[in-house]
Symmetry: C2
Amino acid sequence: MALAATKSNDRLYQDLARSLLVELSSGRYPVGSRLPAERDLAVRYEVSRPTVREAIIALEVQGLVEVRIGSGAYVRRLPGEEDRPGFNVTAFELTEARLLFEGEAAALAATQVTDADVAEIELLVQRIAEENQDPNGTESADREFHLAIARATRNVAVFNAIERLWDLRASSPEAALLHEKARHANVKPVVEEHSAVVEALRARDPNAARAAMRAHLSAVLEGLLFATEERALAEARKATQARRDRYARATA
Amino acid sequence: MALAATKSNDRLYQDLARSLLVELSSGRYPVGSRLPAERDLAVRYEVSRPTVREAIIALEVQGLVEVRIGSGAYVRRLPGEEDRPGFNVTAFELTEARLLFEGEAAALAATQVTDADVAEIELLVQRIAEENQDPNGTESADREFHLAIARATRNVAVFNAIERLWDLRASSPEAALLHEKARHANVKPVVEEHSAVVEALRARDPNAARAAMRAHLSAVLEGLLFATEERALAEARKATQARRDRYARATA
DNA sequence: GGAAACTTTCTGGTAATACCAATTCTCGGA
DNA sequence: TCCGAGAATTGGTATTACCAGAAAGTTTCC
């Protein structure tokens, strides 16, 4: 299993680190398990031991593995997992938070937007429509639409907090999945909802902007609940309780 | 300059990485400058070149240096600096964001709080009063008060986004300083403002909770503006513009 | 005299090997 | 069965060598 197959321009240690990362993600080495010995990895990946060491140190610096002298390198946490609380947020909570915060952000944005902002945001609405018609499309335009409005507030803290919500979503498999299920239902209403926000921004009407954004996210929230079967709900409640306990302890 | 003097139990590469970190912080190697060659560092610190390489890779993984083949290792950013936008947020923006978001959080919390939550939050109001009377006091109770309300929403995403705002504040020297100046003005009104929030929560009145929280943060905002001299404002505006350009590029 | 091409030198990238120290395993003895 | 000494395994570090990319210096040609 030579690394040359990866055909990257990175240095060998980076290639190797990435390969190990993939192995970690694949579940081959669960948390707590031991990686093969450096000498074995060197043979398996057809690189020298110093290169293996460099790759392992890269993982170690990122907190993914813990190296014990004379024993081996042990998996500490899996890639993608974060240490901070709030990592695995449910889709419902996430959308509820967005409903509250992005509504206010839209209201503030209505007092701060420029014509250029409005034009940019309007283009994004068009891109969202195109995305939604493509079954394999991503939802990057949707993200950009909401972040563009957050940016139009001219308040970095507002932008940053909302960006954090989208980050949470990206790192929450459940939330992303549920959205995926709820998305392609009705294209036309989605476009109308987004357009209503744009119109309120163009009119510089904070209250209308807040109302339009909240209406849109309320619709998302309802679609979400509709797509959530009873069983998923029960699981989510259970997970929520565990998380609740967790950050209660974290801030005790 | 042997590393043995550090007397640590870490591995050599970690000692060396820490030593280099100190040199970076000292300003000896500003951003953009080149570190000495690996062979030179090996001689200077009396370690082998593989060890130097390991230390440099540790810095590279953390994004502190950038290694160019055949050229050298260049300083990318200084330790302590963060790459993400929104790092150096002004006190005004921060409080404005809190005004919008914590107002909504208080409203949601009013629909979700338990009697135990209210009791806990009420105790924190008392602690805030004590803190404010001590000229050397911290403002940890204030932070806990606001986070307790965010937690009472029973929504991890809401809690997380608001926690992020407080993190931003902690990492923004300017914001912390300005608050420090504006704080000890009037103890009694501050207590009354906080108590009003608690009463609204106890009454389970979302609209009253939102109004009380917004009133409190509006007062903070005004105190902030009062404490901000003209010159500081001008500087803040300039910094804000630079930041604006920066994340406009980052998301272009 | 200046510009292009070549050469040297410096830099990081990787490999191979050896030996040390900490840990773990194994097996024989009590 | 238990335990302890020795062997085997593992990471830690050093040394050396050579390759490849980049930069600087030199030569050559116009």
